[in-house]
């Protein structure tokens, strides 16, 4: 790579004391948590605990032996934060340019659906897809990319678990209710204010005949789907957005394959996570206290070194896979579970709830506690579905608001 690469390397050396050596591509072991250092750098790089960053710096002197491969990066229903996380790789994104021809990337390059359609099946080596599947356009594009790609990576929490937008699955009236709320019930909507369109509320239409010709829009689905509910997925990289350590593991796996012929990880591997829970990499000290009240972070003086759960703050750490470097707990906010559950757990929320329930004073040596007392503590947990499934409702079997009414 040219001048930019050098530039970054120099910059990096100044910024970091020492970069961790190349780590195995998948399931990197959680490093010892003893010497926790404060916080992170701008892009969230450099952590001393949890997942180490893979070093790609020296790996890519030029195009791979077999020539550059084709890479597509696409967003479905996403916020763009995943794309920003890829751009935040700074120097690495330029090394990707060395390794691959990026045939599609709507956020950074204008997408070319027609060119993708013209490709042979399997012509693209890797498609990195972020976002949930929310409408017909998302579905069409991800199916097209699946057909043309050898490997599909489900990138980021929305693609893997539905993410925050999957909270929409709790809305009883599904897409119809959402459209009605947004266009007629929000107080600033013209229809609500009895202004323009008051007699006939206007909704976006699949097809509209403008004076000059036809204009079309995609159709919203009733529920938010994860990527693997719509197409076959090979790998998962969770995170909202994935942090740089996780991204480096993904890039390393691809680069090892392209340059050195190292086989890709087994299909279905979750890349960029540790094998442990977030608690293992959280620098807060665990006292295994019993919870008798639930607090929010603004309600108490949060002790800086003590486990948040011990302080009565609901933290999803015990049921969430490690890999993010515990960035939220380090600034005094509990984990909301954006990296998703640990391996083999589908119901993230249920898993959290089990972990939390085990902290109520119900052990033998806690003395007798009445059911009323337990109910009292439990009732302090507000909106448990929305809180425990803040990022993973798309994966949950609890889909519909039958539940919301009765929570």
């Amino acid at each position: 790579m040219g001048f930019f690469d050098k530039l970054f390397k120099k910059d990096k050396k100044e910024a970091k004391e020492e970069a961790p050596k190349a780590a195995p591509a998948k399931a990197a072991p959680a490093a010892a948590k003893a010497d926790a250092k404060p916080c992170c750098d701008a892009n969230g790089e450099v952590e001393t605990i949890g997942l180490p960053a893979a070093d790609l710096g020296e790996l890519l002197p030029g195009a791979p032996p077999g020539g550059k491969f084709k890479l597509a990066i696409y967003w479905a229903a996403a916020c763009g934060g995943c794309d920003v996380s890829l751009l935040d790789t700074n120097e690495r994104i330029l090394t990707i340019g060395d390794m691959a021809d990026i045939v599609m990337w709507p956020v950074a390059a204008d997408g070319k659906e027609k060119d993708i359609e013209a490709m042979e099946d399997g012509e693209i080596l890797v498609s990195i897809i972020s976002g949930a599947v929310r409408n017909t356009e998302n579905e069409h594009m991800v199916k097209l990319l699946r057909k043309k790609s050898k490997v599909v990576v489900s990138y980021g929490t929305c693609a893997c678990f539905g993410g925050s937008p999957a909270l929409a699955n709790l809305v009883p009236g599904e897409s119809k209710e959402i459209l009605e709320y947004v266009y007629t019930k929000t107080p600033s909507s013209a229809a609500f204010q009895g202004e323009y369109h008051k007699d006939a509320p206007v909704f976006p239409q699949k097809s509209f005949q403008a004076p000059e010709g036809e204009l079309t829009l995609p159709v919203l689905f009733d529920t938010v789907k994860t990527l693997d509910q719509v197409i076959d997925v090979d790998y998962y990289v969770p995170g909202c957005p994935p942090l740089q350590e996780s991204i480096s593991q993904m890039l390393k796996a691809v680069a090892d394959f392209a340059y050195n012929g190292v086989p890709l990880p087994p299909k279905g591997t979750e890349i960029g996570v540790t094998t442990k829970t977030l608690c293992e990499e959280c620098p807060r000290h665990k006292e295994n206290a019993r919870i008798s009240h639930i607090y929010e972070p603004h309600e108490i003086d949060v002790k800086p070194d003590v486990c948040l759960m011990d302080q009565g703050i609901l933290c999803l750490g015990p049921a969430t896979v490690g890999g993010c470097g515990a960035r939220c707990t380090k600034v005094g906010q509990p984990c909301r579970g954006c990296y998703g559950p640990t391996a083999d757990v589908q119901e993230h929320g249920a898993s959290v709830f089990t972990a939390i329930a085990s902290m109520f004073p119900i052990r033998e040596d806690d003395g007798i506690i009445g059911e009323d007392e337990i109910i009292k503590i439990m009732s302090e947990v507000k909106d448990p579905l929305g809180y425990f499934y803040a990022f993973t409702l798309g994966k949950s079997l609890i889909k519909k608001a039958v539940v919301e009414g009765g929570q």
Partner: protein
Amino acid sequence: MAGPIIWDDKQKVTGNKVTVDPITRLEGHGKIEIFLDDKGDVQNAYWQVPELRGFERFCVGRKVTELNQITARLCGVCPGAHHLASTKAIDGCYNTKPTETAFHIRDTFYNAHFVHSHIAHFYALAAPDFVCGPAAPAAERNVLGVVGRVGLELGGAVIKTRKEAQLVQAIIGGKPTHPVMGVPGGVTKAISKEEQKEIIGYAENMVEFAKTTMKVFNDVVLANKEYMDIVLNPDLYYHETYHMGLVNEKGQFEIHDGKVKVVDQKGNDYCMYDPYDYLDNIAEANEPWSYEKFPYLKKPGYKGLVDGPDSGLYRATPLSRLNVAKEMPTPLAQEEFVKYKGILKDAGVNGPCQHTLVTHWARVIELLCCAEKCLEDAKSDLLIHDDIKQKDIQAGGRGVGCVEAPRGTLTHDYTCDENGIVTACNMVVGTTNNNGPICMDVAKVAKGLIHNFEVSPGLLNMVEMAFRAYDPCNSCATHSLPGQMPLTAVIKNADGTVYDTITRN
């Protein structure tokens, strides 16, 4: 340094519809449909936003304190703006305000957020169109092309400064993308003396870098007569709309906490209101061909996509903020503001500036102002006080949180019950304010540039420059990858079949 490439060869097309799809866009997937008449002139052009995720509905039923994390996911490019507007609305729902220290910490964070966002937009997105030229080869029209022309040293400074602005946000908010520090009445983390020192160091660099950027803009755009002719041509990037932005108690430029001020087409004060009263002043219309709403001022009302005093369409952009502000609150930015007004006046602009492309200039002045403000905040002792949150506060009520997002006035409006569960939620988002004006600008520029079936990649890019000036959300990330910026225009026959495809490179 080679001169920029402004015009390129046109190609004759047949058919009556030019589709630019997908465009690099805001918050999802966008397209521009351009309809030609039988002479090959542009009948009309539509900017469509084909996406909806329904945050306003699914935030109902959630804990209000979760909303500043949920709604940050509206946009991964400006999560800091949503996090802060949302936190302010949550303050309101708890009938509280942040402590002085918390306000100060949030302010430091937010000025750094602006610096990061404006740097990304200016260099990655806007500069390629000006430094390399609208018709430069696509492979060159990106941040590397910019660096190639203006020099490596500057390129390094761009990346370093943006990274440091992200770092300031990470120190305060945990992560720059989807920060987490805001709680009702405060923030979760106090800033240590060491961290303060670190932030001051970054902020000093930001100010220096913003000064350099000011100079780059002067050299590249203001000194180029051909550009200024395009920028100031009333037949292209120009509409006479109302303008909106926050101002502080002195009537100065403000991004964090102030009153909403609107000026009319002549620059007269049209109205000024507390953000809590936004529903008395604005509303949002819908069109059947876009998922994005069309906000307008209620008094003139919604008259469709037209400008002038009888149409309620307004803009909320950097251009608008400099139209409503009497002055800038920091010394260097104020100097530039005076110069800006003077040059525009000499060019015949009296009253508010309505030239869309001047938005880029306004954005650079804002960059300087926010860098200065970040430094001023960082140096204050308030930053390291430990009264970071209010005590004994109770949920229940309505809160309206309003900030200037990098892309326009951003309003979050929540109501919650005494358990802190959200019962109503509404948002008027930065870019959305400008939906009508973006549509008008895209159509006008298409009409002004495309005639007699003659289209070229450069011309289509100039159509795109109309929306890019507004920095619609994700556009700040656009154009950042080397050699990957082709644009495909599909020319369709009247029956919708594809007649021809033009690729920009």
